[in-house]
Protein backbone atom coordinates (compact mmCIF):
# COMPACT_ATOMS: atom_id res chain seq x y z
CA UNK A 1 0.00 0.00 0.00
CA UNK A 2 1.36 3.37 -1.00
CA UNK A 3 0.94 5.93 1.80
CA UNK A 4 0.07 9.52 0.97
CA UNK A 5 2.58 12.31 1.34
CA UNK A 6 2.62 14.23 4.62
CA UNK A 7 3.58 17.89 4.58
CA UNK A 8 5.30 19.44 7.59
CA UNK A 9 6.76 22.63 9.06
CA UNK A 10 9.79 21.06 10.74
CA UNK A 11 12.30 23.05 8.71
CA UNK A 12 10.54 26.40 9.36
CA UNK A 13 10.15 25.72 13.10
CA UNK A 14 13.73 24.56 13.45
CA UNK A 15 15.13 27.65 11.69
CA UNK A 16 12.79 29.96 13.61
CA UNK A 17 14.09 28.59 16.90
CA UNK A 18 17.69 28.53 15.69
CA UNK A 19 18.13 24.82 16.27
CA UNK A 20 20.60 22.80 14.24
CA UNK A 21 19.64 19.53 12.55
CA UNK A 22 22.04 17.74 14.85
CA UNK A 23 20.38 19.14 17.99
CA UNK A 24 16.92 18.25 16.74
CA UNK A 25 18.06 14.75 15.72
CA UNK A 26 19.55 14.12 19.16
CA UNK A 27 16.43 15.41 20.93
CA UNK A 28 13.98 13.24 19.02
CA UNK A 29 16.30 10.22 18.92
CA UNK A 30 16.94 9.85 15.18
CA UNK A 31 19.92 10.12 12.86
CA UNK A 32 20.70 13.54 11.36
CA UNK A 33 20.01 12.13 7.87
CA UNK A 34 16.47 11.28 8.97
CA UNK A 35 15.86 14.92 9.96
CA UNK A 36 16.90 15.90 6.42
CA UNK A 37 14.48 13.37 4.93
CA UNK A 38 11.66 14.62 7.20
CA UNK A 39 12.32 18.26 6.28
CA UNK A 40 12.34 17.49 2.57
CA UNK A 41 9.06 15.59 3.09
CA UNK A 42 10.60 12.46 1.58
CA UNK A 43 9.80 10.35 4.61
CA UNK A 44 6.57 10.07 6.62
CA UNK A 45 7.32 9.65 10.32
CA UNK A 46 5.63 7.03 12.47
CA UNK A 47 2.98 8.24 14.91
CA UNK A 48 5.47 7.89 17.76
CA UNK A 49 8.08 10.03 16.00
CA UNK A 50 5.46 12.62 15.00
CA UNK A 51 4.44 12.94 18.67
CA UNK A 52 8.08 13.28 19.72
CA UNK A 53 8.47 16.16 17.22
CA UNK A 54 5.28 17.84 18.51
CA UNK A 55 6.43 17.49 22.09
CA UNK A 56 9.81 18.94 21.18
CA UNK A 57 8.31 22.03 19.53
CA UNK A 58 5.43 22.24 22.03
CA UNK A 59 2.83 22.62 19.29
CA UNK A 60 -0.33 20.70 18.34
CA UNK A 61 0.12 18.01 15.71
CA UNK A 62 -2.07 19.74 13.10
CA UNK A 63 0.22 22.79 13.16
CA UNK A 64 3.26 20.70 12.20
CA UNK A 65 1.90 17.90 10.00
CA UNK A 66 -0.82 17.90 7.37
CA UNK A 67 -1.86 15.71 4.42
CA UNK A 68 -2.53 18.98 2.52
CA UNK A 69 0.20 21.49 1.54
CA UNK A 70 0.70 23.84 4.52
CA UNK A 71 0.23 27.60 4.32
CA UNK A 72 2.98 29.92 5.61
CA UNK A 73 2.73 30.39 9.40
CA UNK A 74 2.22 34.16 9.00
CA UNK A 75 -0.90 33.54 6.88
CA UNK A 76 -2.24 31.12 9.45
CA UNK A 77 -1.71 33.67 12.25
CA UNK A 78 -3.60 36.37 10.28
CA UNK A 79 -6.47 33.92 9.65
CA UNK A 80 -6.55 33.02 13.33
CA UNK A 81 -6.50 36.70 14.31
CA UNK A 82 -9.40 37.48 11.93
CA UNK A 83 -11.31 34.50 13.31
CA UNK A 84 -10.84 35.70 16.91
CA UNK A 85 -11.79 39.28 15.86
CA UNK A 86 -14.96 37.96 14.16
CA UNK A 87 -15.99 36.05 17.27
CA UNK A 88 -15.74 39.22 19.38
Amino acid sequence: MKSRKLYNRISVLRKERNISRKELAESIGVNIQTVGYLEREEYNPSLDLAFKINEYFGLPIELIFSPEPLKPLSEEIIELKNKIGGEK
Binding site: K15, R21, G29, N31, Q33, T34, G36, S46
Partner: protein, 145 residues
Protein backbone atom coordinates in the same frame (compact mmCIF):
# COMPACT_ATOMS: atom_id res chain seq x y z
CA UNK B 1 32.09 21.98 6.95
CA UNK B 2 32.13 18.21 7.11
CA UNK B 3 32.01 16.88 3.52
CA UNK B 4 30.22 13.70 2.59
CA UNK B 5 29.89 11.86 -0.69
CA UNK B 6 26.91 12.82 -2.80
CA UNK B 7 24.65 10.04 -4.10
CA UNK B 8 26.28 10.34 -7.54
CA UNK B 9 29.76 9.95 -6.03
CA UNK B 10 28.58 6.98 -3.97
CA UNK B 11 27.29 5.31 -7.11
CA UNK B 12 30.56 5.89 -8.96
CA UNK B 13 32.57 4.35 -6.09
CA UNK B 14 30.23 1.35 -5.87
CA UNK B 15 30.47 0.68 -9.62
CA UNK B 16 34.23 1.12 -9.48
CA UNK B 17 34.42 -1.34 -6.59
CA UNK B 18 32.48 -4.09 -8.35
CA UNK B 19 34.19 -3.52 -11.71
CA UNK B 20 37.60 -3.68 -10.03
CA UNK B 21 36.52 -6.90 -8.29
CA UNK B 22 35.58 -8.42 -11.66
CA UNK B 23 38.85 -7.14 -13.20
CA UNK B 24 40.80 -8.59 -10.27
CA UNK B 25 39.27 -12.05 -10.81
CA UNK B 26 39.63 -11.91 -14.62
CA UNK B 27 43.29 -10.76 -14.45
CA UNK B 28 44.02 -13.44 -11.87
CA UNK B 29 42.75 -16.28 -14.09
CA UNK B 30 44.31 -14.76 -17.24
CA UNK B 31 47.64 -14.29 -15.41
CA UNK B 32 47.52 -17.84 -14.13
CA UNK B 33 46.81 -19.15 -17.65
CA UNK B 34 49.65 -17.14 -19.29
CA UNK B 35 52.05 -17.75 -16.34
CA UNK B 36 52.04 -14.18 -15.08
CA UNK B 37 53.62 -11.86 -17.69
CA UNK B 38 54.67 -8.51 -16.16
CA UNK B 39 51.79 -6.57 -17.82
CA UNK B 40 49.18 -8.78 -16.14
CA UNK B 41 50.94 -8.51 -12.78
CA UNK B 42 50.72 -4.69 -13.10
CA UNK B 43 47.02 -4.87 -14.06
CA UNK B 44 46.33 -7.23 -11.15
CA UNK B 45 48.07 -4.92 -8.65
CA UNK B 46 46.24 -1.92 -10.17
CA UNK B 47 42.88 -3.70 -9.76
CA UNK B 48 43.67 -4.54 -6.12
CA UNK B 49 44.56 -0.89 -5.40
CA UNK B 50 41.38 0.45 -7.08
CA UNK B 51 39.35 -2.23 -5.31
CA UNK B 52 40.68 -1.27 -1.86
CA UNK B 53 40.33 2.49 -2.39
CA UNK B 54 36.81 2.20 -3.78
CA UNK B 55 35.82 -0.13 -0.93
CA UNK B 56 36.95 2.46 1.63
CA UNK B 57 35.22 5.30 -0.23
CA UNK B 58 31.94 3.50 -1.00
CA UNK B 59 31.36 1.53 2.19
CA UNK B 60 33.56 2.62 5.08
CA UNK B 61 33.68 6.42 4.64
CA UNK B 62 29.93 6.64 4.00
CA UNK B 63 29.25 4.37 7.02
CA UNK B 64 26.77 2.23 5.05
CA UNK B 65 28.76 -0.90 5.84
CA UNK B 66 28.34 -0.16 9.54
CA UNK B 67 24.67 0.73 9.07
CA UNK B 68 23.70 -2.61 7.51
CA UNK B 69 25.80 -4.65 9.94
CA UNK B 70 24.80 -2.95 13.19
CA UNK B 71 22.08 -4.09 15.60
CA UNK B 72 18.56 -2.79 14.96
CA UNK B 73 18.69 -1.16 18.40
CA UNK B 74 21.19 1.37 17.03
CA UNK B 75 19.04 2.39 14.07
CA UNK B 76 16.15 4.81 13.86
CA UNK B 77 12.85 3.89 12.16
CA UNK B 78 13.83 5.24 8.71
CA UNK B 79 17.23 3.54 8.79
CA UNK B 80 15.53 0.25 9.69
CA UNK B 81 13.35 0.61 6.58
CA UNK B 82 16.41 1.38 4.46
CA UNK B 83 18.29 -1.68 5.78
CA UNK B 84 15.29 -4.02 5.36
CA UNK B 85 14.76 -2.79 1.81
CA UNK B 86 18.47 -3.15 1.00
CA UNK B 87 18.53 -6.72 2.40
CA UNK B 88 15.47 -7.65 0.36
CA UNK B 89 17.03 -6.46 -2.91
CA UNK B 90 20.47 -7.86 -2.01
CA UNK B 91 18.97 -11.31 -1.44
CA UNK B 92 17.33 -11.28 -4.89
CA UNK B 93 20.39 -9.94 -6.72
CA UNK B 94 22.76 -12.37 -4.99
CA UNK B 95 20.52 -15.33 -5.86
CA UNK B 96 20.47 -14.26 -9.52
CA UNK B 97 24.28 -13.79 -9.60
CA UNK B 98 24.82 -17.24 -8.03
CA UNK B 99 22.45 -18.90 -10.49
CA UNK B 100 24.18 -17.21 -13.45
CA UNK B 101 27.60 -18.40 -12.24
CA UNK B 102 26.40 -21.95 -11.57
CA UNK B 103 24.74 -22.22 -15.00
CA UNK B 104 27.70 -20.58 -16.78
CA UNK B 105 30.09 -23.06 -15.14
CA UNK B 106 27.77 -25.94 -16.07
CA UNK B 107 27.57 -24.81 -19.73
CA UNK B 108 31.33 -24.37 -20.24
CA UNK B 109 32.08 -27.50 -18.16
CA UNK B 110 34.65 -25.60 -16.13
CA UNK B 111 36.29 -27.01 -13.00
CA UNK B 112 34.52 -26.42 -9.64
CA UNK B 113 34.34 -22.91 -8.16
CA UNK B 114 37.74 -22.16 -6.60
CA UNK B 115 38.81 -20.10 -3.59
CA UNK B 116 39.09 -16.72 -5.37
CA UNK B 117 35.63 -16.93 -6.93
CA UNK B 118 34.14 -18.16 -3.66
CA UNK B 119 35.82 -15.23 -1.84
CA UNK B 120 34.42 -12.87 -4.51
CA UNK B 121 30.91 -14.23 -3.95
CA UNK B 122 31.31 -13.97 -0.18
CA UNK B 123 32.42 -10.35 -0.60
CA UNK B 124 29.42 -9.67 -2.84
CA UNK B 125 27.04 -11.21 -0.30
CA UNK B 126 28.47 -9.01 2.47
CA UNK B 127 28.64 -5.73 0.55
CA UNK B 128 25.46 -5.86 -1.56
CA UNK B 129 23.10 -4.58 1.18
CA UNK B 130 25.47 -1.68 1.92
CA UNK B 131 25.85 -0.97 -1.81
CA UNK B 132 22.07 -0.86 -2.32
CA UNK B 133 21.61 1.43 0.70
CA UNK B 134 24.40 3.75 -0.52
CA UNK B 135 23.01 3.66 -4.06
CA UNK B 136 19.59 4.92 -2.94
CA UNK B 137 20.36 7.19 -0.01
CA UNK B 138 20.76 10.95 -0.28
CA UNK B 139 23.52 12.28 1.93
CA UNK B 140 23.26 15.60 3.69
CA UNK B 141 26.09 17.35 5.40
CA UNK B 142 26.01 17.58 9.20
CA UNK B 143 26.35 21.35 9.04
CA UNK B 144 23.90 21.75 6.18
CA UNK B 145 21.40 23.83 8.14
Amino acid sequence: MKKQNSRKQNRVWILLNYFSLIALIVFFYTGKYFQWPISLVVFEIGSVVVFLISFLKAFIKTKYWKMVHTSYKNLDEREMQVVLNALRYAYSIFTIVCLIIIYAFAIVEYHPIDVLLAAGLLYLAHTLPAAIAAWNEKNISIDDD
